[in-house]
Symmetry: C2
Subunit: 222 residues, 2 copies
């Protein structure tokens, strides 16, 4: 897998939203639709079950080359052979996670303020997730949203891959991507969709079109 | 610390029981009273806070030579420099925990049945915790209690250090220790006590007396 990850359409799982459907097959449907990275987030699952679920998903994702990132639980990522870990500001400090995971696994970090962004920019963390863009009901905590202007400002502050999460949907996706994000992370727009595959495909198409236009504009400048 | 751990009076923490008291100072009081090992158990604390709490407790326990064991969270134990990890049957499988922790850290495993005990006996897990002895309200799950006869039977099945948890108190402590346990693990009898130090001292005295009598009996046989 290496670290050349495609951040375009980054799915974050939430079993609370998937209704009476199996998580692994739902994720695989979403990958068929165009999801390019998957973060498995489980807040209350026993560690043994989490490892099994992650290992199973990792096996099933193998042929798609889509990386599996584990939310928070470093030891679950190690035990399941996942590609990386995503941590938040309240999780284990980045440098400790890096020393446990080694140099080759991906580490992503959520940042909620510009100060956190600047601090993270000085580390070798692999990507940053700005959250939230907008207010959302998925996460209980209420942090000041970045907004589109905030995303542009953040983009100017770091060369690291940037994604953003929190209130992204197909209506606002184009304007979010236009701020220079490498991708967007979504929870409910895919997990709660009647067809996760169709939902992912529609979102992936929008992202592909935007990226094509951006590349075109860059080429015209050259 | 090495692996020569004194299992006599093994405190398992529960912040839900300590009322309006600070956890670290409560544990240190209990250690002054005679607690010989501490397991930090946190089921819903963010990982970063858990690491801080564990690191702080580890520092404060350093001079007492009392080992700090972390419940379940291998990465928290690694990040905080704790002495080991205690896992249950629903946590990450033992051999994976061992490969993450290396040979020198302590790993304890909860066993709820004789089959689990026999399986664990074939591994190099450092100690086993039989649970429960009696029915208890601390843990929500309801497993068949071992009872005193069950503890004696378990004792005959393994040479590994054995402790037991679940309904132990000062009234039944002597008869539990008489079955050949290396120690007992307690939650509420210490965490909920008005004076954790006095509670620990009273329990430690009972254990010391029993062990003295047992040694005496052994010497008379020789």
């Amino acid at each position: 897998m290496g670290k050349s990850m495609d951040f375009s359409l980054y799915l974050v799982t939430d079993r609370g939203l998937i209704r009476d459907r199996a998580l692994v097959s739902l994720v695989l449907e979403a990958v068929r639709g165009g999801v390019s990275a998957v973060q498995l987030r489980e807040k209350s699952c026993p560690a043994g079950e989490f490892v099994q679920l992650a290992g199973n998903l990792k096996d099933r994702l193998a042929e798609s080359n889509v990386p599996l990132i584990i939310n928070d639980r470093v030891e679950v990522a190690l035990a399941a052979g996942a590609d990386g870990v995503h941590i938040g500001q309240e999780d284990i400090p980045y440098h400790q996670v890096r020393s446990m995971l080694g140099p080759n696994r991906i580490i992503g970090l959520s940042v909620n303020t510009y100060a956190q962004l600047m601090e993270a920019d000085r580390t070798d963390v692999d990507y940053l997730s700005l959250s939230p863009v907008y207010s959302t009901k998925t996460k209980k905590d209420t942090k000041e949203p970045f907004g589109l202007e905030g995303l542009r400002k953040a983009r100017s502050m770091t060369q690291k891959p940037l994604i953003t999460i929190g209130g992204v949907n197909k209506q606002n996706l184009a304007s979010i991507m236009a701020t220079g994000m490498d991708g967007v992370a979504l929870v409910s727009a895919i997990c709660a969709a009647d067809s996760p595959e169709d939902a992912a495909r529609e979102l992936a198409d929008i992202i592909r079109n935007i990226k094509r236009e951006q590349n075109h504009a860059v080429m015209q400048h050259q």
